[in-house]
Symmetry: C3
Subunit: 372 residues, 3 copies
């Protein structure tokens, strides 16, 4: 099994890695291959497939992060910012694409809100908690955190307009919800392009937060190696995402989870865990504003890029997805954004704030599990 | 047509104006007279009447602004503040009065929320965008912007209490919605009087934002000239507002707009455009906190003065209007206030924030047009 | 009547008090005894019982405050913080316990939200108003106010999750609302314990706000005297709360109030008035951040301690109470928290803000009275 071309090509790659990273990359490749064999060779049990594919995706998202980090360091902050903004949520986007194709539209929509809520409550909460236990009360620039929070709120307002109109309007005459969602998606993508232009012109302002990691710049790969790693990881990501999505429905049926629970809690955790660990690590190193920027930046990408792109793809592949989220989703995201903005605004954080944010996430997760 | 008494009386007036202003004032008077002739003389097509009256009102609101600015400069900041607070939303108030009299109660209520949303998303957005493109990241006193935002939120909470109660309460026993709205209106006007007292005592704090323009003090008119201009403009405003309102229903029928769209988007734009240009101009000159104060101050006047006065007038003229806004209106205003407060709080703004605010306004306008 | 053991035992106690406090303590004891005699001896009219018991509870809550303040001064800020956090809302907790036992579950839930709204609109409003009239524009540390506000928002998000899920979810499968509320209650109490740990470790940060009063440290009682006063006052509180609760239903029937009005407006005023006066006094002395900390701290205790403890007690005594509040309650509390956070964030306050907060509270109270 270790003789497949992909693992062979990764051998020179491993030389530049720390011992831990070497093991992790090797394990990721091994698990990915196992998942593929289990699915196409052995037609294994869906639960096993779901778990193995999920673990593989976790690793692959982290490998994608390594290579984009390296490419960002090589190409400078301006091009690097665009690369990071494009590949930052790639795992999430690919999983959502297959789920959309499979007609799991509610899972896709739930995973979008789950990703935002997870970033703003769980990741921010654990970061603030770990950072506060390690470093005491942490002070940080309100400017960086605050302007990221403001952008995020504006982006989410736009994203949720169709949902709010859908609750309220009784008599619709001129258009349909999907038409409106397509219009909104185009406007949101316009906002995303403007945000990229802004970042390209002001590379020192940590808008999307991904420059945060620029400090160490990733492993010392050559540019071709980094591109090759990125491509190989993306191919594996695609295959494993298809396996994962194919196993969702039997997995749900087996354990009696709701599609909502899987979409809001499980999928975003699988797609984002690698990025989450970066934020926690930054908080541990007392770089709180960078940790916050990762959380906000990732949420901003979901609102301005992942969600509207999925609307357009959905129309393209004949699986139209509107942006009409459930009231519960709007409420959860609204609350998560409000509290994280508030915590950013006061310019300091302590472990109690982190613990309470995490508790709110647990309360939400328990409630989604119990009641929906 | 140029021989009517009003244009003759304005001739000495023109001498003190810049060449551009002279043309604008002359054009405004000409258009106003055209509108009157078209309506009373020629019984012209309602669409033409609507457009001509709207253009005339835009100009007249600007002329009112010139004369109150001058009166404010002559009488000092204390009396000037009261004059500005009284005449600042005069066009809006007069239009709403005639619409109320014509029984277009939904248009009136929609125009109140549209005015607030327009101020806080479109005007603020364009101001921040223009200011940011011209001046880069703009920093401003969080104190002035923040305390204006806080006052505005309090005022809007009061204004929206009847709507929230109306969504929720099932069994009403003691009073009616109109009774409650009258009580609320009286309390809001009490708040307005207190705000005027505050402004009278602390004229240097830019509460309503109208002192912003005190820098240049308007054209060098004598006090009697300024009063005469104000009175003449107000008379024209009244006549043109009546013409505009009379043309609303045929205009709606012709183009298939909803009353909601006209109320939320068109009417507030007509009534407020002059004030909007002031805000954009201030942002262009890098006076961001004054631009924000204009946006907040104008919204504050709508919540504490225009809306409650219309409730009382409605009861007086037998067209009772309650303050039970649509959920969509409450959500739109709540979102607009939240985001503008957030942008004020972080003490700096850049063109991206402005662009995103404007995009959110466009998303809202498109949605009102498409769906309601 | 003045010969009962309790008054005799309080005589040495009175020596350490100011003349005014001596009269107030004596009157409180006298009124408490009158209430007991009226109820058990004379079976008096419920309206009279309600009023006399309410006045007695007002006084007893203040006496409890005196003794915990003294115990806090004696034991140091760490133990003192825990004592204050435990006894700060004791009157409210005892009244709610009896109301729960009597099956008045809606009154109990309404009193929880009413307590929070009262703290954040009425008490904060009157404090800011009085402080602003006396001291002009008041500036204060945004840090203390801001971090208290952030904690409060997190706590309330947790508290309101069950209500939001209850609005939204149609098909519930795994659990019941009460099960979910018990889980949430346990997690909130975990948050409360963490908050106490935080306060114990960082006694100088005025988390709960009760250190505010540490300046004067209460009357110069010995520790045994303070403990004795606390116990005697608690016993009286218990008896009078039972009397008060027993009189609620006839009282409501007599005046035609709704249970909602009594729960949201009357009960919290009776249970909290003593604490309210402390906040107003602090604002008057220009200690605005302490006044705010009292308001936030008291609300935080309701959300993290009083409400979840009542859920657990309810299950224990066979009167299960869920945390599914009315939409109106969630909206009122959400608005109150939002505006008070905003006022805390801008770092200064003036009498106009206080007046408008108070007006919003009056609008809410009038609306509850009129419509619900």
């Amino acid at each position: 099994m270790t003789d497949t071309p992909s693992t062979r090509s990764s051998l020179p790659v491993l030389g530049e890695l720390s011992p831990f990273a070497r093991i992790a990359v090797t394990a990721t490749v091994a698990i990915s291959v196992v998942a593929i064999v289990l699915d196409f060779g052995l037609h294994a049990d869906p639960t096993i497939l779901f778990v193995v594919a999920a673990v593989g995706i976790l690793g692959l998202a982290w490998v994608v992060g390594l290579s984009t980090e390296r490419l960002g360091a090589v190409t400078g902050p301006q091009v690097g910012g665009v690369i990071n903004a494009t590949f930052g949520n790639i795992a999430e986007l690919i999983i959502a694409f297959f789920a959309l194709q499979a007609g799991l539209i509610d899972v896709v929509k739930a995973s979008l809100t789950g990703s935002i809520v997870g970033n703003l409550l769980l990741v921010l909460g654990v970061s603030v908690l770990v950072g506060g236990v390690r470093n005491g009360t942490q002070r940080f620039s309100e400017q960086i955190a605050g302007s990221n929070a403001a952008l995020l709120v504006v982006a989410l307002l736009g994203l949720f307009v169709p949902a709010v109109f859908a609750f309220s309007s009784a008599d619709r005459s001129r258009g349909t919800l999907t038409e409106q969602s397509v219009l909104v998606a185009v406007l949101l993508i316009l906002g995303y392009v403007l945000a990229l232009v802004f970042q390209f012109r002001h590379p020192t302002e940590t808008l999307g937060g991904h420059e945060a990691a620029a400090g160490h710049g990733g492993p010392a790969w050559s540019t071709p190696t980094a591109v090759a790693v990125l491509l190989v990881a993306a191919v594996f990501l695609t295959v494993l995402s298809e396996i994962l999505v194919g196993a969702i429905e039997p997995f749900i049926a087996r354990f009696g989870f709701s599609e909502f629970f899987v979409g809001v809690i499980l999928i975003p955790t699988i797609g984002n865990l690698a990025e989450h660990l970066v934020a926690v690590q930054l908080a541990f190193k007392n770089k709180m504003e960078f940790a916050m920027a990762v959380c906000y930046g990732s949420s901003l990408q979901v609102a301005l890029f992942v969600a509207p792109v999925l609307v357009l793809i959905g129309v393209g592949i004949g699986r139209p997805m509107d942006l009409v989220f459930e009231p519960l989703e709007v409420a959860a995201v609204g609350a998560a954004v409000g509290i994280s903005a508030l915590i950013a605004m006061d310019g300091e954080s302590n472990w109690l704030e982190g613990a309470l944010l995490t508790i709110v996430y647990v309360i939400l997760a328990v409630s989604f599990f119990e009641l929906v």
